[in-house]
Symmetry: C2
């Protein structure tokens, strides 16, 4: 089994590393980080570089493809070799996965047309404009496609995927190994739960115009 995690300039680190920490522990699964060109890839805030060991050309037919999100998704979905690679790879994958705004890249590649999918809560309307059927859930399966909500949701998605790949016991052993018994100090992790002023602040700063104009809290 092999998994290719796509990296690109200004990817969000946790989108990639959360699922990586889970999927790299699935027995027999080799995870490779790939990018249009191999080498160091700078993450979204510029403070960290991850290494893509291989180019997308070198990993033509991964069984699992995972696309993380991040502000660099705008450039990534503008076209070119990455979208072509995704389209071709998806034809042969067992699972095609995304985290956060990685689903916008899958949608731009035409992979999500008419499919139920999710994304970062600020990007759900954009996801719909790109042809998917947006669903406000943490992890959404549609056939062999699995998409996760924002950033940290990739951990939940990867555990659900690990159960499908290797069984529930293995997924639970991975969960215990990474001591994933989350205890956030606040209950502010979704727009339904966070204080309205914070939802409005993030909506106003969003790069997605629909979110900025019609945030959930503003509509309520």
């Amino acid at each position: 089994m092999n998994t290719a995690i796509l990296l690109y300039d200004r990817v969000t680190a946790l989108d990639a590393i959360g699922p990586y920490e889970v999927l790299s522990r699935v027995p027999g699964n080799t995870v490779q980080f790939v990018a249009a060109q191999p080498g160091e890839v700078r993450t979204d805030n510029g403070m960290l570089a991850l290494v893509a060991e291989r180019s997308i050309e070198d990993v033509a037919a991964p069984e699992i493809v995972l696309v993380p999100g991040g502000p660099g998704e705008v450039a990534a979905r503008a076209g070119g070799a990455v979208l072509e690679w995704l389209r071709a790879a998806h034809e042969r994958t067992t699972w095609t996965a995304s985290v956060c705004t990685g689903s916008l890249i899958l949608a731009a590649a035409g992979i999500l047309t008419g499919k139920r999918a999710t994304s970062h809560w600020l990007a759900l309307e954009e996801l719909g404009r790109l042809g998917a059927v947006p669903v406000s859930e943490r992890v959404v399966f549609d056939g062999k496609i699995v998409t996760a909500a924002g950033v940290s949701a990739g951990i939940d998605m990867a555990l659900a995927l690990a159960a499908k790949l290797a069984g529930e016991e293995t997924a639970q052993a991975i969960q215990l190994g990474i001591e994933y018994d989350p205890q956030p100090p606040f209950d502010a992790g979704s727009p339904d739960k966070a204080p309205a002023a914070i939802v409005e602040l993030l909506s106003a700063r969003s790069r997605f115009p629909a979110a900025a104009q019609g945030a959930p809290a503003a509509r309520a």
Copy 2:
């Protein structure tokens, strides 16, 4: 404000990247990845390299130091320049933090002697042998030292720390930004909750002899 996250060969990626994703979003905080030598650092399973941009010598007095865990902690706590750097840096930090078995490195540097601290559930007895007062909680504050339980606990720790650095509203905005509304598909993230057979399996495979001989489930 600046934060140094220590990297070393065979570090666990999520131990470092979970807190990084939170702390890099604290306004005014610059995060630097440091190592004994700058350059690519291979993580625990060999499938990923993170880049340490600076050497520890270049970052002598960070306000916040964070030490992630991973199987490479055994070599890291064997002595040398890293422990000396930690001891000297800790004299001047505002906060000294660890995730998972990173606390064993802090303990080996003498920083946790007599202090309440936590670690990965399999490493709590080892933490006690190294002079700390082990506490089985997800996030433990003792003065300016904050330690987190295994791997994924670094996200919870970093949100608690972000609240102390920048206030609860900012921490909540970060939580909403990374959509940290965890929904694990299983409730197996701690030895108290996971099936006994899985606790025993991980205990038997543990590199910590006390854990292998007297796992919580085996004692129960």
